[in-house]
């Protein structure tokens, strides 16, 4: 079976960020994709803009009839400032390290070394947005404010510099933007633990008739390795496979049957039971060998 047929094509595997806990176990956090982060930022930016407009409109309508309302406007000015400068800081420094936008896209910030996320770090990573977003935006939209009479080469250098700063997440492996680098933070995929049924390993208390129809010899099981086993697990687990891609199951069953020299053909409706039984047997065999210190990575690795 080809990898592309089974794996969800199009998404490269996420980059990993390793953190070793004080207990000495290494955890592999997945680094958030650049697109997710941009999306999260867009959501937050829209929220900030909408909230700012709401604040102004509310204050406007509340004061239209009154005489002395400068206190109200003082609070509006203050409110807008707090909203624009402290929106990210407020949300990220609370419990889960997520703004509403990040929450929507399932990403969060954490300390790059895995320690406690300090308030100072959150402040720094967000104040840095000024050079990453505000300054580039101003350069784009109102360049004459910056260099009305600067020579052309200076303008070019400034432009390049701005691009480098703003595009920083794309230039490093860990997708850290300038604020992340200065604050020592990193944006990772918020882990969502999900435990499903065991596909093949549900120890059958009384082997059903159809299960016992499939028994495999060692030689047959030694064809494949851990990689193929887990791809098969994904295939069996995939809910869609039950409806739309029965054919895929049948095709895979057929391919396996031929590869291991299974006598007779696997009928269409037998594909799932056959694959499930094969999965259980293969896993038992591979795990048993692992206990003896022999881990077979995939079908190409030698014994």
């Amino acid at each position: 079976m080809s990898r592309a047929a089974v794996l969800d094509a199009g998404h490269p595997p996420p980059r990993l960020h390793e953190v070793t806990t004080p207990e000495g176990v290494t955890l592999h956090f997945s680094i958030a994709r650049a697109g997710d982060r941009l999306g999260a930022f867009m959501i937050d930016a829209v929220l900030i803009i909408v909230a700012t407009l709401l604040l102004v409109v509310l204050a406007w309508s509340a004061t239209s009839g009154l005489g002395d309302n400068s206190w109200l406007w003082a609070f509006v000015v203050l409110g807008i400032f707090l909203l624009q400068s402290f929106y990210f800081i407020w949300f990220e420094s609370r419990g889960r390290g997520m703004t509403p936008g990040k929450k929507r896209l399932g990403i969060r910030i954490m300390d790059v070394e895995g320690g406690t996320l300090s308030a100072a770090a959150v402040v720094v990573r967000n104040v840095m947005r000024i050079v990453e977003i505000h300054v580039p935006l101003m350069v784009l939209l109102a360049p004459q404010q910056f260099w009305s009479d600067a020579p052309q080469w200076a303008q070019l250098i400034a432009c390049a510099w701005v691009v480098i700063i703003a595009g920083m997440p794309l230039f490093n492996r860990k997708r850290m933007r300038v604020g992340d680098i200065v604050a020592g933070t990193i944006v990772v995929v918020a882990p969502v633990p999900q435990l499903d049924r065991d596909v093949g390993g549900e120890a059958p208390k009384q082997p059903r008739a159809q299960d016992s129809a499939y028994t495999f010899s060692r030689e047959q099981l030694d064809v494949y390795g851990a990689y193929e086993l887990q791809v098969l697990e994904d295939l069996l687990r995939d809910k869609r496979a039950q409806h739309s891609s029965r054919d895929a199951l049948a095709a895979v069953a057929d391919k396996i049957a031929r590869k291991i020299g299974w006598p007779g053909r696997i009928r269409h409706w037998d594909a799932r039971p056959f694959l499930t039984a094969f999965y259980a047997a293969l896993r038992a065999r591979l795990e048993q060998r692992m206990l003896f210190g022999k881990r077979k990575e995939d079908k190409f690795s030698d014994d």
Partner: protein, 334 residues
């Protein structure tokens, strides 16, 4: 092969309950904080967390069940962040900030503050001397918007009036103060963030502001209003200029760790210095708030020179005393 009993399946069956329990506890901590846990649960959490971690290491060596492996990985990550990323109560954080983190950061950045102060002083002196020599240079240092009518063409009377401007109704002052605060805080944050551009823009900003201050001083001093002008600037200026210097010093610290990373790698050094500098910026924002209140209310309402001077002296004394009085590490007696 006979009926299959997988070791990894047994492994999961025996421990699954504890994993599920941990999941529930972690979810509650994330949602409503550690305080939502009962005492017994507080004991349970770290134990369950360690169990999950050991399950993960065992699973990595005996199980090929991808689902269990990814589940345990995610569960351990989440529990890890919940256990070690714990935040304390806001009151504690604030107390620690004012009595320890902020004064310590102030002391640590003494040299950067000095450099920033010298650059600002240089700008001020230059602005003062240049404008004194030729009053027309005032226009080169101060933009028309900012001067708002105060320039070498104004009469001495109108210049004096600007120092004692008396808003008839005090109601406009709140809006004024809040405008001042937000404007200054934005400039301060910009000053810090520009530190990442190797610090050059920080120096430029300091110089420009120094020239501006010097030009104004020269304008007033030329009319014999020098001390009155200083009495007008100093009450809030002490705090505000210090806050600007703090932000600049923080920016310079960033620039320094970028250019001279020292023993650590650039990234590590930046992360460490960056957080220290962040404390300064946070403190500076609060100082801008104080300065904005003084500038917006006090300066407009109090016209007595003696009171103005004494407030300036008091705030200066406070800022000299504060970093040395708080957060000093106790002498170790060994």
């Amino acid at each position: 092969m006979p009926a299959i009993r997988l070791k990894s399946y047994e492994f999961r069956r025996e421990r699954e309950k504890a994993w599920r329990r941990l999941e529930v506890l972690v979810q509650r901590v994330e949602k409503s904080g550690l305080r939502s846990l009962r005492e017994s649960e507080l004991y349970e959490l770290p134990q369950l967390y360690r169990q999950a971690l050991s399950s993960l290491s065992v699973a990595r060596s005996i199980s090929l069940d991808k689902n269990v492996l990814t589940y345990l990985e995610a569960l351990s990550q989440r529990a890890y962040l919940a256990v070690y990323g714990v935040r304390r109560h806001l009151r504690e954080v604030l107390l620690e900030f004012f009595t320890d983190a902020f004064p310590t950061a102030l002391r640590r950045h003494g040299r950067h503050l000095l450099v920033a102060g010298l650059v600002l002083l240089l700008g001020t002196m230059a602005g003062y001397l240049l404008t004194m020599a030729d009053t027309d240079r005032f226009y080169a240092f101060v933009s028309g918007d900012y001067a708002s009518g105060r320039n070498p063409m104004s009469s001495t009377e109108s210049l004096r009036d600007a120092l004692y401007s008396d808003h008839d109704e005090t109601s406009g002052l709140a809006a004024f103060a809040s405008h001042l605060f937000t404007h200054n805080a934005r400039v301060g944050m910009l000053c810090f963030a520009l530190g990442f551009l190797l610090g050059i823009p920080v120096f430029l900003l300091l110089l420009i502001n120094g020239l501006l201050l010097g030009a104004f001083t020269a304008l007033y001093a030329g009319r014999g209003l020098g001390s009155e002008f200083l009495a007008w600037v100093a009450p809030h200026g002490v705090t505000e200029i210090l806050a600007i210097l703090l932000c600049s010093a923080a920016g310079l610290a960033i620039a320094q760790s970028l250019i001279f990373p020292g023993r650590l790698t650039r990234m590590q050094n930046l992360a460490r210095r960056g957080r220290e500098a962040g404390v300064l910026v946070l403190g500076a924002v609060l100082m801008f708030l104080a300065a904005g209140l003084i500038e917006g209310f006090f300066r407009q309402l109090v016209h007595s020179q003696a009171v103005r001077w004494s407030l300036a002296a008091a705030s200066l004394a406070f800022w000299i005393w504060y970093p040395f009085a708080c957060g000093r590490p106790r002498e170790r007696t060994s």
